[in-house]
Symmetry: C2
């Protein structure tokens, strides 16, 4: 009873404030307010009430942004490279969202600090929005939340969404499932020889940036990458361009890097790969939601007393096998939901 | 058409040979033939045709065996300890199956060799059956296949099934989801201090065996374990006994180890934990099968041209959101299967 009262209270509170709040928030979001965008992202990222409604509302407005992934070892200068690349993109007046994923920070503390420092760079530019995300220790959760935040920025009207992430951990390779083009940033120096790079990171590159190209050894890294590409089977389809960049004293290679990304973008469009990928991603997304809904339906049935729990008892006591039991339960769930559907029509 | 002919051919071949073969195999299995048991295990382990029928047929005969897990670091002397324990169990004429899981061997080569050496020990004893399994590099697959092989031995009529595994890798901790009682084997020596044991392995122990107890340092290990147990919250429910064992020159502590296992077994029965666990495992098993069947049903629908693929097109082109699409697809699948069911009745 206590619990029921609590639920009613939460419902009423949300109905009175949350629902109206959400409606107002979204109208400010659609009007292009940066503060509303920040609020919507927080709601999605922190799984606050209204998240599902937001994701449902924004979906049909997504698909306009080009998703660029930038990854590489810690200290490769990814942030500076992204900032300089954004300035280059801004010359065409296209607006840009940056999602900086920091898998090393267990809490958002460090990430927020990073935000503030970087915000100064683009502080006066209304066409750039930066958001840092800590993964809060859950590497598995990275892909899903990042994907959702990218969608929010996409729906907001960004022409580009850049996901910047440190190339460590298997989950980091998931960037290739979100990004349309992935840039892998390498640097000269003993520790960053391609022989020592982690497995998989080289394979996800659509474009290589050899950053800090003023340092000695840049030519050797370039040669190593080109050699590796020579040995690859699939370079007939798309051979990743290798661009030498610098953001240190003089800015170098940034226009060329953007050019390489756009070249890959054209390649994807021309070969129909872009559309095919979008189709696959849409199917996978629908499939994930279907399975999630189904699990909820099953749990609802398994929890109820009656036929299903009697059947489970019989499986426990070895009277029937779980295969036969599963078949019956599926038929009951489907029959039940099917008849509910018919009677509600 | 080619494909269809092939399917018919496979079906007829299996129907003519496989089906009859399976029936004969299972009748020999139920008659208690060791060679038939070996064949059934191979069929299950290697996912050969007939596996599903076998698992379905044996299920109602399972539940009689007590499942004992034995785990510990490599070199802790688990195999010798298990062999000596089995001799102790055999004094009561109870029959024993041993599943030796070797996660370090990517292929079964090493495991088979291990089989042959150990078989000599129990070669003349019809009441012991040993089977080694390599995990073939897939740690994730360990739990499922091991569980299935244990079930086969259980249905065969074993009083005890002992799972012997090296305590490395997260998947190894899964032994606690299969075993009724888990014995963790420790040894004296610098490398095996409990401070250096991997996380989680201490928590899964229902009984501790300090093996090679003739070696110096055995008392220190025992003290460390007892101290750790003193700090635990839940030792009121069950405080794992610590038994010192040796199988080297003179056999020590084996009867005491079996006694400790039986004490835990009684504890599980008396507190109703045994039944509760069996219920949970049965429910989980049914749930797994239900979800697997559902995924097959969904894939079947997603693959067909028509309503569903049109809907996926609309999600790709952002005309509708994936949440609305999922809802419709679930209703179609349920409606479709529901009406098929009604019309077939």
């Amino acid at each position: 009873m206590q619990n029921f009262k609590l639920k009613i209270l939460i419902f009423l509170t949300f109905y009175k404030t949350g629902g109206v709040f959400l409606k107002e928030l979204m109208s400010r979001f659609w009007a292009g307010e940066h503060r509303a965008l920040a609020r919507v992202i927080s709601t999605v990222e922190n799984e606050l009430p209204g998240k599902d409604d937001i994701l449902k509302e924004i979906y049909t407005k997504t698909g306009g942004a080009y998703i660029l992934g930038v990854t590489g070892s810690p200290g490769a200068g990814k942030s500076s490279l992204v900032d300089t690349l954004v300035k280059e993109i801004r010359k065409n007046n296209e607006i840009v969202g940056i999602v900086a994923v920091d898998p090393t920070s267990p809490f958002s503390g460090g990430a927020i600090l990073g935000d503030r420092i970087r915000m100064n760079e683009h502080a006066l530019d209304e066409g750039v929005f930066i958001r840092s995300m800590g993964t809060r220790g859950s590497l598995g959760g990275l892909a899903k939340t990042t994907k959702e935040v990218v969608k929010v920025m996409d729906a907001f009207g960004m022409n580009w969404v850049i996901i910047e992430t440190v190339g460590v951990g298997q989950a980091e390779l998931d960037i290739m499932y979100i990004a349309d083009t992935t840039v892998v940033v390498l640097t000269p120096g003993a520790g960053d020889s391609i022989q020592t790079m982690k497995a998989g990171i080289m394979e996800i590159a659509d474009v290589f940036a050899i950053n800090k190209c003023d340092l000695p050894g840049a030519d050797r890294v370039e040669m190593e990458v080109e050699m590796m590409l020579n040995f690859r089977d699939d370079h007939i389809k798309w051979r990743p361009p290798v661009v030498k960049t610098s953001t240190f004293n003089t800015t170098k290679g940034i226009a060329e890097l953007l050019e390489a990304v756009k070249k890959h973008r054209n390649h994807l469009s021309e070969k129909g790969i872009f559309l095919k990928r979008r189709q696959e991603r849409a199917s996978n997304e629908v499939l994930d939601i279907i399975n999630y809904q189904w699990e909820r339906l099953v749990k609802h049935h398994l929890g109820r007393p009656g036929q299903v729990s009697e059947l489970l008892e019989k499986v426990t006591s070895r009277e029937i096998d779980p295969y036969t039991a599963s078949q019956s339960i599926i038929e009951w769930i489907i029959g039940d939901s099917g008849s509910q559907k018919s009677s509600s029509q």
